[in-house]
């Protein structure tokens, strides 16, 4: 399930290194979520400054795209329905098949992906009452920053939790070369 075995030249074949990376990622993300609302208040480009680092971090971990440490979650799995190639030119079909081949998840990878989402869902489920509480309460100036930090934490959980679980739990791999 892990497609990149190196990050900034450091091998990620060993699980302990991957765990260090994940721990660092979450410490950074958590600190950013807590302090960003204070740091960027009144800034004219607050929205970009707050969300772009999160998008960059999500792109680093992968899962939602073909790049990143973890493989694309939405790849074709063995139990998917056969793809319908109606109304497509032969060139398009060939290109589509090539993309599917590169993005195919085997049985073990699909199961690892689902199991990671199962664990992640348990945490996401309990973040919904928090968000609903924020939705139902009246805002006042002191609580506004807590709400912003909560938003950033929820975005962080949504974007990074299954990937983090996979990086954390996947066993040691063979070193390259």
């Amino acid at each position: 399930m892990i497609q990149q075995r190196k990050f900034l030249g450091i091998s990620l074949a060993r699980r302990s290194r991957r765990r260090t990376l994940v721990a660092g990622f979450w410490i950074m993300g958590f600190s950013f979520a807590v302090f960003a609302p204070f740091l960027f208040r009144g800034h004219p480009r607050q929205f970009s400054w707050v969300f772009l680092p999160f998008l960059a971090q999500a792109a680093l971990l992968g899962g939602e795209g073909r790049k990143g440490l973890v493989r694309d979650f939405h790849g074709h799995t063995p139990d998917n329905e056969p793809v319908d190639y109606s109304f497509m030119t032969p060139e398009d079909i060939a290109a589509r098949k090539e993309a599917e081949k590169q993005n195919r998840l085997d049985e073990r990878e699909a199961r690892a992906r689902d199991a990671a989402h199962y664990k992640a869902f348990e945490l996401l489920r309990w973040s919904v009452p928090l968000v609903a509480f924020a939705a139902f309460t009246e805002p006042f100036i002191g609580f506004a920053y807590v709400r912003q930090a909560l938003l950033l934490l929820v975005v962080l959980v949504i974007q990074a939790l299954p990937q983090s679980i996979l990086l954390w739990t996947e066993p040691d791999m063979e070193e390259e070369g």
């Binding site: 199962y118 869902f121 939705a135």
Partner: protein, 192 residues
């Protein structure tokens, strides 16, 4: 997954997928009915705050019960060896019984249902936050965001409440719903 429901002394077989789907539809329709009915009663004033957990919990408990060990506490975190550490014993206080243990096929169903649910719930949460940010006008979102909620004729608060209530219900029922909806027909329970 349970194959029989005993309601007021009557035994209702849940082995057929069609019947399970009807119950799932009834539970969801009941929640929507509660939201619509309470809107006309008091505009979600008391019914939307104090009484909302009741239909929510009732639906979640019924669907969880129907899915059985697929959502049972003992099977939530499956482990190969009993926990030895204090934290492990606190989180997993007792050995799961054999009936609660899931086989490979059931584990795969359970995990796949949660994979789908995760995507739906994530999208819903992000939508909810868009509405919150619009309504509450959080400072860092004032620029670059389209105005959605404030132009809605139904009003900000109601839209926000409805979305939050539906998300709460989905958070506690969606995996069970998917499991009950897609699980194939089972064998009828044997008479004692």
């Amino acid at each position: 997954m349970k194959t029989e429901l005993v309601l007021l002394g009557n035994r209702i077989s849940l082995a057929s997928r069609g019947r399970r789907r009807w119950i799932v539809i009834l539970v969801h329709a009941g929640f929507v009915g509660y939201l619509v009915g309470s809107w006309f009663i008091d505009r979600w004033n008391v019914s939307g705050t104090l009484w909302l957990p009741l239909p929510l919990m009732a639906g979640a408990c019924l669907l969880s019960w129907m899915t059985g060990p697929l959502r049972g506490r003992n099977s939530l975190w499956r482990y190969k060896d009993p926990p030895t550490s204090r934290i492990g014993k606190l989180l997993l206080p007792k050995e799961p019984e054999a009936a609660d243990m899931l086989d490979e096929r059931e584990l795969r169903w359970r995990d796949r249902a949660h994979y789908w649910s995760y995507g739906v719930l994530s999208f819903g949460l992000l939508m909810l936050w868009v509405f919150i940010s619009q309504q509450r006008q959080m400072q860092f979102m004032e620029r670059g965001f389209p105005v959605l909620a404030s132009r809605h004729p139904w009003g900000n608060d109601n839209m926000l409440f409805c979305l939050a209530a539906c998300l709460l219900f989905a958070a506690f029922t969606l995996p069970q719903t998917l499991l009950l909806w897609f699980a194939p027909d089972m064998e009828e329970p044997h008479e004692d």
